[in-house]
Symmetry: C2
Subunit: 220 residues, 2 copies
DNA sequence: TGGCTAATTTAGGCATGGCTAAATCCAGGC
DNA sequence: GCCTGGATTTAGCCATGCCTAAATTAGCCA
């Protein structure tokens, strides 16, 4: 990662990134390996620290959705604030209370307690060739409007779709066959990933109901 | 409240208190009414802000105990960190998930959603006259050792006790009558409050089991 | 009323994590 | 091999919330 890539992602000035990278590289143990004017990369320790935060964030998202009845487009911001103060003990209690889940409400893998690195994401819808059949795997969690749009279209993790055309616009059919074709917006197909049915661990498990949790929180 | 009283309670230097009081008094709306060199007092808005934090803190404590299986002496610190980042929506969802409870695990009243001020606490055990029968009402939540000691003695909110003697040490019997007398440490009786049975809303409701939650979290 | 002591406030620092502006670096084009 | 422009780093500020040390205030007693 270069300094400016990080600055863009974090919506922060490059100078601030430089300062923070220097600090993280000087930490004990160092969390990044930093080569002046040349970019930085996570160390082993840095990757574990990052995975711990990701684990916490995703468990919180699932908790807010499953146990408190939040809609799947509302959980990200709350989790973002909570993730930095939730202690390790609470993370594990949350995991236990949720049954040590493998995925958050958006389909993202939840790192296990050992902080094993998680594999690469599935393929973006925008990269699927026409004729291809795939299972929705995950969607970015930081754009509520995207998530609401997906819910409205019935485009949820676990749903199977078939690509009819990729240009000029992505046209797909949902479900098995014969359903009415949908035209998917370009910004959507660039931020939703899918997998071949034979790879998906979500197939035919159309997630209780990501959007609004109409049944209410599970412990009422 | 004077500056030094606040400094003591907050374990902070008086100079820091002065600075913060000036800031809170200058806030819009002002949260404290501050008279230079003369002390400060909460404004209406300040009291509401404080009650909102207390409500959040106590709901979190109850949540951690009831839903995540924390022991009652472990919840305070976690709640202290969480209370400042939990948003208003989550507070109300927690309240709903817990059934809009009136008390936290230590017996403290939870302010309602309207932030109605809560009444004065019950009487300290140390102030009960010999011969008096009372129901344990609440205990300070910020001292895990005290809470563990109470649990070990069976001194839980809702438990009825009778004071046999107040000096030189407080001796009590727990439960109805005839039980073996207990001698209570001075630091304990100064931090646990009780009420006359006819005032208590906890009578004969010896709280499922404050200490360890042996049945595990309620939604397993 | 003067003065003394304790309480309080002011003045000036430190660390965090952001910022801008200015210097420096470096890679590609000539 | 230079030179130039974008990327990067440095230098120097700002706000927060805490600190210490010094000045000030206030209340009490003679």
């Amino acid at each position: 990662m270069t300094t400016s890539q990080l600055a863009d992602r974090l919506a922060v000035r490059p100078a601030s990134v430089t300062a923070m990278l220097q600090k993280l590289a000087a930490a004990e143990p160092p969390l990044v390996e930093y080569h002046k004017s040349r970019g930085a990369r996570l160390t082993e320790a840095g990757q574990r620290a990052a995975l711990a935060v990701v684990r916490c964030h995703r468990l919180l998202e699932l908790f807010l959705h499953e146990k408190l009845g939040y809609a799947w487009d509302e959980v990200h911001d709350e989790a973002d604030r909570l993730e930095h103060v939730v202690g390790p003990a609470m993370v594990e209690r949350l995991a236990a209370a949720l049954g040590h889940p493998a995925r958050d409400p958006h389909g993202h893998a939840i790192p296990d307690a050992d902080l094993t690195p998680i594999g690469p994401a599935a393929t973006l819808l925008s990269a699927l060739p026409a004729g291809c059949t795939a299972v929705i795997d995950q969607a970015r969690d930081d754009d509520p409007a995207l998530l609401r749009q997906m819910a409205a279209l019935g485009l949820l993790p676990g749903i199977t779709l078939t690509v009819l055309a990729e240009a000029p616009a992505t046209r797909v059919t949902l479900g098995a066959r014969g359903a009415t074709p949908l035209e998917l917006p370009a910004d959507l197909v660039a931020r939703v990933a899918a997998e071949p049915p034979e790879f998906s661990t979500l197939t035919n498990r159309p997630s209780k109901t990501m959007p609004a949790s109409p049944f209410g929180p599970s412990f009422f």
